[in-house]
């Protein structure tokens, strides 16, 4: 094995190496979450804006696939390394304590693996719902309200109809809440794991973490709420 490969292998196998990979992929995914949110919020600017935006994304063609595969890789790495770390953590303490003495750990930090798993399920559902499957006849050429004259999707109408179903919105809101929980710990953790959260920055990072997590929650949830309440139709 060349020394370079050997060093890299040791890095991947080490606890901190794995943590860094989880942190870096987490950072990338947070970037995606922010972009996704900003895109979706354009619903409030009217059908034309969001539909044009969606068409622009679609027209990226190959580049879109590069981004999609990149995202997929990040999600996969984030999950694989998290599972490895979690399994090691579980075996590191077989016998539990009689009483729980948690003093500082937040609920969000303790349930990271569960919020993560739920988010994964949510993402699969979300992709099936809007990108892959044909629920609501989104991809049926005969349903004209989901198509624009130039042949691209009427994303605006797809969102309105999707979120009008109360249980779809409810699951979405639950998913967003767990994402918020995941981010509230994950955002600050990234900076600690990457060695950037200096004592002076720790407080601002913590605040930014909460703003980011709740901002993502509020932004994303505002859409189904607006639709359910009839503000958007």
């Amino acid at each position: 094995m060349s020394p370079i490969v050997q060093s890299l292998c040791r890095f991947y196998h080490s606890s901190i190496g794995k943590k860094i990979i989880v942190a870096v992929t987490g950072l990338g995914l947070m970037g995606f979450i922010l972009g996704h949110l900003l895109g979706n919020l354009q619903i409030f600017l009217g059908p034309d804006t969001i539909n044009t935006y969606a068409k622009k994304l679609h027209d990226l063609g190959l580049l879109l696939w590069v981004v999609r595969l990149g995202l997929l890789a990040m999600v996969a790495a984030h999950i694989v390394f998290t599972i490895q770390l979690t399994r090691e953590n579980r075996t590191a303490r077989k016998q539990k304590y009689a009483l729980d003495g948690t003093r500082k750990a937040t609920k969000a930090s303790v349930i990271m693996i569960w919020s993560g798993v739920t988010i994964l399920v949510f993402i699969i559902y979300h992709l099936m719902h809007f990108t892959i499957t044909r629920t609501n006849g989104y991809y049926d050429p005969a349903v004209s309200r989901y198509w624009l004259p130039d042949g691209s999707h009427n994303v605006y109408n797809m969102m309105i109809d999707g979120f009008r179903v109360w249980y779809v919105s409810a699951f979405y809101i639950l998913g967003m809440f767990l994402l918020c929980s995941h981010l509230s710990h994950g955002f600050a953790s990234v900076f600690q794991t990457l060695g950037l959260a200096t004592p002076r920055l720790r407080r601002p990072i913590h605040v930014a973490s909460l703003i980011f997590a709740w901002g993502v929650f509020a932004g994303n949830v505002s859409i189904p709420l607006a639709i359910l309440s009839g503000l958007k139709s």
Binding site: E88, K94, Y97, L196
Partner: protein
């Protein structure tokens, strides 16, 4: 100025385990008339004295200096490593922190890397191996330069000292939901890596100690910071940040061969 003294009657649920491979269980012991000015270990002394006179086997627990510096005592009290008071070891915990009639659960540190030897005593040799891997500055006795020839900025010296205050008790591992030893390892690394004397070997030390830590069967840090909350010497997770940074840089330099 009289010191108020009252006494407590307590029910103790103590973990008893004959050996590393034996099953363990909680036994109930009554502790009667314990003075509230006694230390927690003195309370156990009183209980043990009672067990011995009744012909039983006393509870085995590690202890030595009984002034909070040797890091020997190690027990989880009601789910809390070193008990309910912050910034103290078990030996410095006094019974005035408890109330008459309390039930107290007493267990050993629980971690795969710290096998129970007997009752409340665990084997912490994993810590030894981590330190042996690189917890030093290679200096041969007699070859040291004049002490004041290298000025050390006061802030660096103070930060190094704050990390070096670690007493190696293992409460960080016991407190961590993942039984991770990162606060311990990070404290040892920061002690040396922050000083100019420790810089020449910093990369080598960081890689060696982190890798040895990984081999011991500890879990991984997931930034719960329970370690910091239970450290009797209040070592900050800032040391873990420094270790993460140093390991990241050392790995990069090792890969690139610089």
């Amino acid at each position: 100025m009289a010191v108020s003294q009252s006494s407590l009657n307590l029910t103790l649920k103590i973990w008893r385990q004959a050996g590393p491979d034996q099953p363990g269980r909680f036994d109930t012991h009554e502790a009667k008339g314990i003075p509230d000015s006694a230390s927690f270990l003195e309370m156990l002394d009183i209980v043990n004295e009672g067990i011995i006179t009744k012909g039983g086997d006393p509870v085995v627990f590690d202890h030595d200096c009984r002034e909070g510096i040797c890091g020997t005592c190690s027990m989880v009290i009601n789910g809390m490593p070193h008990g309910p008071k912050r910034g103290v070891t078990t030996c410095q915990l006094h019974m005035r922190s408890f109330r008459n009639g309390d039930t107290i659960w007493i267990e050993p540190w629980r971690a795969k890397a710290f096998p129970v030897i007997r009752d409340l005593a665990v084997d912490r040799n994993a810590f030894e191996r981590i330190q042996q891997a690189g917890g030093y500055i290679t200096v041969r006795t007699g070859s040291a330069p004049e002490a004041n020839s290298v000025p050390v900025p006061k802030d660096d010296a103070d930060a190094s000292f704050a990390a070096a205050a670690c007493i190696g008790c293992g409460a960080c591992v016991a407190a961590c939901p993942n039984a991770s030893a990162m606060l311990f390892t990070a404290a040892k690394l920061s002690h040396f890596n922050l000083l100019p004397q420790g810089k020449p070997e910093a990369d080598k030390r960081t890689l060696a100690m982190v890798r040895t830590m990984d081999e011991q069967g500890f879990g991984n840090c997931t930034n719960h910071y329970e370690c910091e909350a239970y450290c009797p010497k209040l070592i900050s997770v800032e040391t873990i940040r420094q270790m993460n940074r140093d390991y990241r840089n050392a790995s990069a330099r090792e890969t690139a061969g610089v």
